[in-house]
Symmetry: C2
Subunit: 453 residues, 2 copies
């Protein structure tokens, strides 16, 4: 029931395409869901994809395939097509939000060309309206397809309205209720409409106090609201409350996935949205920036250690625990910063000032610091014959853990206050900074210990 | 329009509760959405929460509040309530899937007690059915509330069916179509039902080839399917295709969020689902396991370095670059493993054997290795007066990057094949292992270089 892409399937498909076997290709396309056809794209060249996609007879399905394509793939594919094909074979069949996304992907000069070729003028108008919104806001996510009824009409006219718009709107979750000024007043579920008598007034059965979002609300906040209140669709309003469009949950699920992926890649030290199946060049490009940040940071670290050259030369055993100290600092720093970054992203941080949060993290760090440096102390008492080393290493470990937890809490909170994405304070940035501070702390403490003990 | 919890609100609320001001508390509860009331819980003690939650007059809303509570909070809250209150005030009003989740949270002996107090016997039966499924499968996510029509009936009887079940089912997205053997044959959107004439047969308008899932499918796979095909609800079937229930998108969004959080916490070295607002003790407990893994790993690392004591004592400058080598290995390892872990989670890994994947990662690593070790070479040619050190450091960096990328690719793929969650191969595990291998590589190469140069 669920299609799984295999190498055999692709080999077979390419053979069908290369032999221009239209009949076989059509049969295959009919069996597949649009999302699955879109998945195939990665394994075809442009000419093969063009041959295949233009064979899809069902306009809705062809449009869905284009809408489901990965953004980079779509840009490449559309580049190879004339404007009238894009407009008539794809855009005309799309929901306005998907259509606006596709048009936005085109270079400026082609946007107008394609818009002019769209036959459905209402659709073209909707797209132009939607292009005005930033793509990472509620306005950028919404579609114009919605069923709207006036609060003063009755159930019968609402049903008539649905009939008249049925072809335009794919899925109906709610009917939105507006007043004479087009101000959103509430909503009505289809279920309620079906079980109500035809002459009942909308104002007697509609749901007040529904949740709506303003067009300029950031996409991730919209997704958080839909998640929190378990909504499948959200109406979008302008600053005076007029209904502009609606956002459907599938687009919000994409936002949720994208945000999660972004945070995960940030903490992994990857700077761009890449997958293992991307080209070697793209993957390399996404990784080298953070590696360079790490390299420069660690070169600075090597200079810091150079300052303690005498100590390291005299007591080589100090170097044995250097990786331990910096690694533990890095681990604690990432633990602390990631919980703050996640809390900021999903609004579960609770109340409290930066100072209060840092104090809390320090309490956690103190317990963990006592446990780990205690174990290390016991280890060195047994295995090391240098008292200075034994005390240095455990004291430094405890101090580094406390410091790293403070630093890992402070930095993302500060970035957030400065309106910078706090997620950059995870991964290589936080580990590299903590490495340097860890070396300074370790070398200073051991310098004192070896001097006095 | 969206409620934001503030310290002032909580202070005010606690004052209302402490003064037992029922009227004021009721007014406040009426204004709030169930999800917002649930959020308040964290800031109240059990007695305060009990006073407040039992004042909610609307049964549906009270049930929603309980359903929205964090699992740990819910367990604690329900423990303080008698079984008949749980059954009559909450369970009776819940959707069967939420009700089953709540019952499953109770200790075994109380489950039966509560089940016996449920007045709606159909609801009790549904819950018992649902309790049989593992909570991380489609069966564990599904609810029994659905509108089902026989394929041989007509539109009029479908509407009658909706009327008769309207009170049971909150939201209707689809009407499911079954045959006489209760085998799922397809679905019908409410929109289609509204615009169809009453005497039209269901079999002439229903949608065939709908996507369904088997009851034992893992929850994350179900979420991937809903995401891929943009579904708001998914029917669940048994092994011979009989319709068992339906899963709604809000539950799948929770699954998606939870999976993302789990992966993120794993890469951060946090072993449990915690938030910054949790207790210091809980946060500590979630962090210490990976810190101990790191500590033990790095103690092993210190013993490895001990083997090269002579070298380190003679050439103290070797230690300057020790953190650099291990840190870069750690960074590359995390980059490689995270892309594999994400690819395995969302099915974007593409084809290919483990060998092919490792070769690809090695190509990426070679480019990054050449760039970074080239820069380091240039740096040391300018700043270092030891040729052996200069060559050692850059050679070791290149080798460590290649090794870390192979290791970071191989380990998660192997864990996945062994049916172990590959996500454990991110974060502290991969960095610590790479640290140890990095030390061995660096010390071996430098040992040879200083011997021959």
């Amino acid at each position: 029931m669920h299609f799984e892409l295999t190498q055999e399937f692709i080999d077979n498909l390419i053979e069908i395409i290369e032999s221009q076997n239209v009949k076989k290709a059509r049969r295959l396309l009919n069996e597949l869901h649009a999302a699955d056809i879109a998945l195939i794209y990665d394994n075809l060249n442009i000419e093969q994809a063009k041959f295949l996609f233009l064979l899809i007879d069902d306009g809705e399905k062809a449009a869905d395939v284009i809408a489901e394509l990965d953004e980079n793939d779509r840009i490449r594919f559309l580049k190879s097509l004339p404007s009238d094909v894009i407009a008539e074979r794809f855009i005309d069949y799309m929901d306005s939000d998907d259509a606006a996304d596709v048009i936005a992907d085109l270079p400026e000069d082609r946007q107008e060309e394609v818009l002019k070729k769209i036959k459905d003028l209402e659709q073209a108008g909707d797209i132009v309206d939607l292009l005005a919104y930033d793509e990472d806001t509620a306005g950028g996510l919404m579609g114009k397809e919605l069923i709207v009824v006036n609060i003063n009409t009755d159930v019968e006219s609402a049903i008539a309205e649905i009939r008249s718009q049925a072809l335009e709107v794919d899925e109906i979750y709610y009917i939105y209720v507006v007043d004479d000024d087009k101000i959103l007043r509430g909503a009505l579920s289809l279920k309620k409409l079906i079980i109500a008598k035809p002459n009942i007034k909308i104002k007697d059965i509609y749901l007040k106090d529904i949740i709506s979002v303003k067009a300029d609300m950031p996409a991730d906040e919209v997704a958080n609201i839909a998640d929190k209140y378990d909504l499948v669709a959200l109406p979008v309003i302008d600053s005076i409350g007029r209904l502009l469009g609606r956002i459907t949950i599938d687009d919000l699920v994409d936002v949720i996935n994208e945000e999660a992926r972004k945070d995960y890649q940030m903490i992994s030290g990857i700077s761009d949205d890449v997958e293992h199946s991307d080209s070697i060049w793209r993957i390399t490009k996404s990784r080298i920036p953070w590696l360079l940040v790490g390299l420069v940071g660690e070169i600075i670290g090597s200079r810091v250690l150079g300052l303690y050259h005498g100590n390291l030369a005299e007591h080589a055993a100090l170097a044995f625990f250097l990786p331990l100290i910096v690694a533990m600092g890095g681990n604690v720093g990432v633990q602390s910063s990631s919980i703050i970054v996640q809390g900021l992203a999903n609004g579960t941080l609770g109340f409290g000032s930066t100072t209060k949060r840092i104090l809390k993290e320090m309490s956690v760090a103190s317990i963990n610091g006592i446990i780990t440096s205690g174990i290390l102390l016991a280890y060195n008492i047994i295995f090391s014959d240098s008292l200075a080393l034994t005390i240095s290493v455990s004291t430094a470990l405890f101090s580094v853990i406390i410091f790293a937890s403070m630093f890992g809490t402070f930095v993302p909170l500060t970035l957030h206050k400065m309106d910078i994405d706090p997620a950059i304070a995870t991964g290589p940035f936080i580990t590299t900074s903590n490495d340097i501070f860890g070396m300074i702390i370790y070398m200073s403490i051991s310098g004192i210990m070896f001097y006095y003990l």
